[in-house]
Symmetry: C2
Subunit: 328 residues, 2 copies
């Protein structure tokens, strides 16, 4: 896979964030010529340390994808764009919906407008989210499931998906949309509790603090280890037949929240308990979720290679070996 | 119907525009206490002359619904809000998609945030558009038809619909969404060709200029005379059972573009011809459209009362009697 990117000019927006920086590491390994745009918006996970070890091989611009002048300059000459910049927090999107609108809609629309003006021959891989489905009518959820987001973040990611489809149809700017599910692994932001339960669980487990599970612990999620997501994204950028389409990612073995805590407790010593859902969290909770990724597997042969046990083991090990988290 | 609004405090955003000003006239007749917010954004149809005759009975604020400070002040104390401010032009949304984002998404989200902070007991009637459906899979189109907009304007109106549903679900701010189809009548903006074919047809017909029909003239549309749309909106604001729902408007007698021109030619003397679709217009054209409004009829007994012949007659007569358009 990496060979395909050798010598290619690749732009990663949000390349200092969690998934973005993992994409950058893989691209650099594969011999790509990598540019990064990241605005380092406070609290959104961007961190220059995420590129430790490859920083001198990457062209980093601390710029904002919402700025058209910067973008028309910066997007030129790239063969492929991985569009990862944005806000991912559901709860933050409720606290400040206008900021979410700006980061997720204005940002993607500005990127596309800049490409329309200056670089129509590129291809974009857009990282969307399972959150666009809202509360599943049944699981596993495939791409034919109705789109009905329950929070502002989901609404804006849904709108951005339409931008990509629209610019493909009308202006011929190739793109592919991947709907990611919960992703975890090295370089994830463990400090910000608004970015999903998994980072909070892992941080508290590492620190020996009590992990609080909202609800009774039976809620189902499918988790992807970040290396599998990076592989899926690189495939998306490299395979022409996916252009103009939308795909779920997912994992063959969904797990309950309690099971995640149980696995972490085989690796680390910490207490846990179940607590009632906070009202605000319940209002935008989607219940059980498990994505059907067979469409993407059929198209690309992608298959997650890391079990949740293995992935959590690797993640814990990485944080224990780094200085990036609280380690007892 | 008007009795229901007697003494009610009603806010109309975009109240200096085409449909908004017609709503205001009806509300003033019915004894409502009416406030108007309109930013008079150039080219968007807002015009103080649209309130000629009632201006001294209306509290007009030349303000921008995108401005949170202004809005938190202005939305207080209203019982009902008719949310009509926004951009309606499909072609303009392609020329400047970021402006469309700002006017249609930032505007509605700011309105809702202001209501959440200062006036949760109000009810909003949001004027959406049939454009959210994109190219109909079959006609007539009912509310179960997939939402798949073909232009940026449709994407943003779709997102705004979700805001209203979301703020109803999570914060209890009541609202109803009406998907309008082509609306025409007194006070429509005839000067701006980007706002749909119908204004252009009527202006050129009034001026004796050649009306150019894109395509072969067989394309189907359903037209609503503005008084019928105003009636539908007033019902939406007054009936509790519609809260949280989405409805099509429409007309029982869809017509072809050629038929519209033929009717106008019974009223006015002007030449017409068919011309091939311009490339840019074709890219976002939706083909035939005819909306099924039976859900709304069932819920409210609303039924369009004006035939297209009668409506075009009244419209032409109004412009001939006013100084608002080129009249030979």
């Amino acid at each position: 896979m990496n060979d395909i990117y050798f010598g290619k000019r690749v732009l990663v927006t949000g390349g200092l964030g969690f998934i973005g920086s993992n994409v950058v590491h893989r691209l650099v390994e594969g011999g790509a010529e990598v540019g990064v745009i990241d605005s380092l918006v406070s609290g959104h996970g961007g961190n220059l340390e995420n590129l430790a070890g490859v920083l001198d091989q990457v062209n980093v611009s601390i710029s904002d994808i919402r700025d058209m002048d910067q973008m028309t300059h910066l997007v030129k000459d790239y063969d492929i764009v991985f569009s990862l910049a944005g806000q991912v927090s559901h709860s933050e999107s409720m606290r400040d919906p206008l900021l979410d609108l700006s980061l997720n809609c204005q940002g993607q629309l500005t990127l596309l407008e800049a490409l329309r003006r200056c670089n129509r021959d590129t291809k974009v891989v857009y990282s969307s989210t399972r959150q666009v489905y809202g509360r599943p009518e049944d699981i596993p959820v495939d791409e034919c499931h109705p789109v009905n987001p329950v929070d502002t973040n989901g609404i804006h990611k849904m709108a951005a998906e339409h931008y990509f489809s629209h610019y493909y149809e009308v202006f011929g700017i190739r793109s592919v949309i991947l709907r990611l599910t919960n992703t975890y692994g090295p370089r994830m932001d463990l400090e910000n509790d608004s970015k999903g339960f998994l980072g909070t669980f892992i941080r508290k487990a590492l620190c020996g603090e009590t992990v609080c599970i909202f609800g009774d612990g039976s809620q189902i999620r499918d988790l992807n280890y970040v290396d599998d997501v990076v592989e899926a994204m690189l495939l998306a950028g490299a395979i022409d037949s996916v252009d103009g389409k939308v795909f779920n990612l997912g994992h063959p073995e969904p797990v309950s929240l309690q099971r995640i805590v149980d696995i972490l407790q085989t690796l680390l010593e910490f207490p846990s308990k179940t607590v009632p859902f906070p009202v605000q969290a319940k209002a935008i909770d989607i219940g059980d979720y498990w994505g059907d990724y067979s469409r993407y597997r059929s198209e690309t042969n992608w298959e997650p290679s890391v079990s949740v046990e293995e992935g959590l083991y690797r993640t814990v090990e990485w944080y224990q070996e780094s200085d990036s988290a609280c380690v007892q």
